[in-house]
């Protein structure tokens, strides 16, 4: 039974499950990373994901157009981000707490709309799996990596993209500066609030897509509170990844692969309590970070309100 765990089927299964499970985390965590890199901690990701998931589902259901659904998710995410930015940048609200507020709002609102606009659980025809030309044909590998749906591919492309923006563009330079020393950035005419507005809204947009990836790409249903805490995991993964896109990729994959593994452990009937299996990814994430040697420190201005004196 333990040996079964190392059979080809299982390993392939684990990896492809892991990739799917990682998808929403990638969107949400990368989004959160941009916010934190500019100094804003947003604990409201979960709420943004739920609203994104609903909007995407609703629009896709009514129009039958999936991309419109994604757009809607981005839209609602952007609105949530805008509100968050306004509250944290202009109103200087304590970031952690306001995030919790937005979480509750999104949690309630998504289900309220669900009840009023749809009523009961339905399903949509979500993004189809696309087997990439050539790549998809590669025996084992192809099936795992190159036979997923569009939003999965995009999620993984997002990682290098995020790295590029952060390190190769003037915008990225501003973001890093604002998160490290807003006074300095400000004294050079970089508008701290604009940058933070941008990153927080971007974070919302990506969280929205994260939700969409669940409701119209991976699961093709909407169910109240369907994210079940993934938004908070996403925030945690930003810390795990040390505020770096590649680190976040690593964290998301680790967490998701272990989660897939624990499912197989149960399926193969390894004699341990199901709860023990279920908690494996959480425990391992902490352990890995505990033993890992690289100890990066976060953006100096994280959660700090910026205001010009005088």
């Amino acid at each position: 039974m333990i040996r079964e765990l190392f059979s080809a089927t299982v390993i392939i299964g684990i990896i492809s499950s892991g990739i799917r499970l990682a998808t929403p985390y990638l969107y949400a965590s990368i989004g959160e990373m941009f916010g934190q890199r500019s100094g804003v901690l947003n604990l409201g990701v979960e709420g943004q994901m739920l609203l994104g998931a609903f909007m995407a589902f609703y629009v896709a259901l009514k129009t039958g157009n999936l991309w419109l659904g994604v757009l809607a998710a981005m839209g609602v995410g952007a609105l949530m981000g805008l509100a968050m930015a306004f509250v944290t940048v202009n109103l200087q609200a304590t970031q952690g707490i306001s995030g919790i507020g937005f979480y509750l709002f999104g949690l309630g609102m998504s289900n309220l709309l669900f009840q009023k606009l749809i009523g009961t659980v339905e399903t949509v025809q979500g993004f189809p799996r696309i087997s990439l030309p050539l790549l998809g044909k590669i025996p084992v590998i192809g099936d795992i990596f190159f036979n997923q749906n569009m939003l999965v591919y995009l999620a993984f492309l997002l990682v290098p993209a995020a790295w590029f923006v952060l390190h190769k563009t003037t915008l990225g330079l501003k973001i890093r500066a604002v998160g490290e020393n807003p006074e300095a950035a400000d004294s050079l005419g970089v508008s701290v609030s604009r940058v933070r507005y941008f990153t927080v809204i971007l974070g919302g947009v990506l969280s929205g897509v994260a939700g969409a990836s669940l409701s119209i790409a991976l699961l093709n249903v909407f169910q109240q509170n369907m994210t079940a805490g993934q938004g908070f995991i996403a925030v945690a993964l930003v810390y795990f990844g040390g505020w770096r896109p590649w680190g976040i990729l690593g964290g998301a994959l680790l967490f998701s692969l272990v989660n897939a593994l624990q499912l197989w452990i149960q399926v193969l009937g390894v004699p341990i309590p199901s709860e023990l299996a279920v908690m494996m990814p959480y425990v391992l994430t902490i352990l890995v970070l505990t033993v890992s040697v690289s100890k990066v420190r976060g953006p100096s201005a994280l959660t700090k309100v910026f205001e010009r004196e005088g």
Binding site: F102, L104, G108, N111, F232, V235, E275, L276, T285, I286
Partner: protein, 378 residues
């Protein structure tokens, strides 16, 4: 000019915000074809309408207060503890286990032991992230989020397995709950309401936390480490240790809150598979309550009552006007956001007061008259 406009606008923002909060809530109600006035009066009724209603509010406020004062400590130590849920659970598990194991101790003694067990359980679950942060540089937001999930699974396992109610173990329904605590072990209640001794304990503790933070060397050190680690080290403070304490104490109070939910409210542990079923989100709401109280232990007392009344009132409003519960959740979210935002108002008020306080002093007399600005460049 533009700057002045900005500042006026900014100064008024919280006012707009608060108004908007009510409006938005009202609008949502109207959309649902519900008269906001009926709804809101039901809310107030439900929270303060009767002695019993108010008691319910206080019952709700008790765990918020306990978690809240814990948050005050961790905040002063500059650590973010969002592990309240898990810490409550672990505190409750430990205290319940002891209470169910030793069933014939004198009540007061077991209540004492039980509360301590809660403290210990919570401290462990808060202390671990503390150690990880201090000695392994593992961010506490990450670890506490994960530890919450772990605690839930531990609870689910124990409540369906080793700790399950013997009755349920036999029954087909297999409800994941422990046996009930014997009568003697229950926190005294103010019959006929559910208001229990816990509130009093919590209030006393709030005062003690105030003293701890501002009247003891321990509190001084926690605050110093929270403010400036290099300076604290130079001040002879073992910085790492006090980082651990900040999270550990914070966890201790959450754990106590968990124990009280068992000894004072439910008399047993029950799980619905998630943390919420047992904690009622107090682990998170306590953070909010603490912030309503400006992260000051004493102000957190009224703040908890306020937030508690909101939660209780909202539920009865849901019953009264039959709005979907999800609207209530959304409303709570809005309230949190608006309250947090309105903080800015106070800041500006303080500015104002200080600035108008000083007036241009009369010209200095001892000024060297000899010198006047020169025109020419040398």
């Amino acid at each position: 000019m533009k700057a002045r406009l900005n500042s006026i606008f900014e100064a008024l923002l919280p006012v707009f915000a608060t108004v908007a909060a009510l409006l938005v809530g009202g609008i949502m109600l109207l959309i649902l074809k519900i008269n906001p006035l009926t709804a809101y009066s039901a809310l107030i009724q439900g929270a303060f309408g009767s002695w019993n209603a108010f008691a319910e509010t206080l019952v709700k406020a008790t765990p918020l207060l306990l978690v809240g004062i814990g948050i005050c400590i961790s905040y002063r130590g500059n650590v973010v503890n969002i592990g309240g849920e898990g810490q409550m659970i672990m505190g409750a598990i430990l205290s319940t286990w002891i209470a169910l194991t030793f069933t014939n101790l004198p009540g007061w003694l077991m209540i004492l032991i039980g509360m301590l067990a809660g403290v210990v359980g919570g401290s462990i679950w808060g202390g671990i992230p503390g150690l990880l942060k201090a000695y392994f540089n593992v961010n506490e937001i990450l670890s506490t989020v994960m530890m919450n999930a772990i605690a839930v699974q531990i609870m689910n396992y124990l409540l369906r397995g080793p700790m399950i109610d013997p009755v349920q173990a036999k029954a087909s329904s297999q409800i994941p709950q422990t046996a009930r605590l014997v009568e003697a072990y229950r926190l005294p209640r103010l019959a006929p309401t559910r208001l229990h001794l816990g509130l009093l304990i919590a209030i006393i503790l709030a005062v003690m936390v105030y003293i701890l933070l501002w009247r003891t060397t321990l509190g001084y050190r926690i605050r110093a480490v929270g403010q400036n680690q290099p300076a604290s080290r130079y001040g002879g403070i073992d910085v790492k240790r006090y980082i651990v304490y900040a999270l550990l104490f914070s966890g201790a109070f959450a754990g106590l809150a968990g124990a009280m939910q068992v000894f004072g409210v439910n008399y047993r542990m029950i799980t619905d598979g998630s943390a919420t079923g047992f904690t009622g989100n107090a682990g998170f709401n306590g953070i909010v309550a603490a912030l309503f109280g400006q992260l000051h232990p004493l102000l957190t007392i009224p703040a908890s009552v306020l937030f508690g009344s909101l939660l209780v009132g909202a539920n009865s409003m849901q019953r009264a006007v039959q709005v979907p519960s999800s609207l209530i959740t959304a409303l709570n979210g809005l309230v949190v956001v608006f309250v947090v935002s309105s903080e800015v108002l106070r800041k500006f008020q303080q500015r104002r007061r200080l600035t108008v306080a000083v007036d241009s002093p009369p010209p200095e007399s001892g000024q060297p008259k000899a010198i006047e600005p020169d025109g020419e460049q040398p």
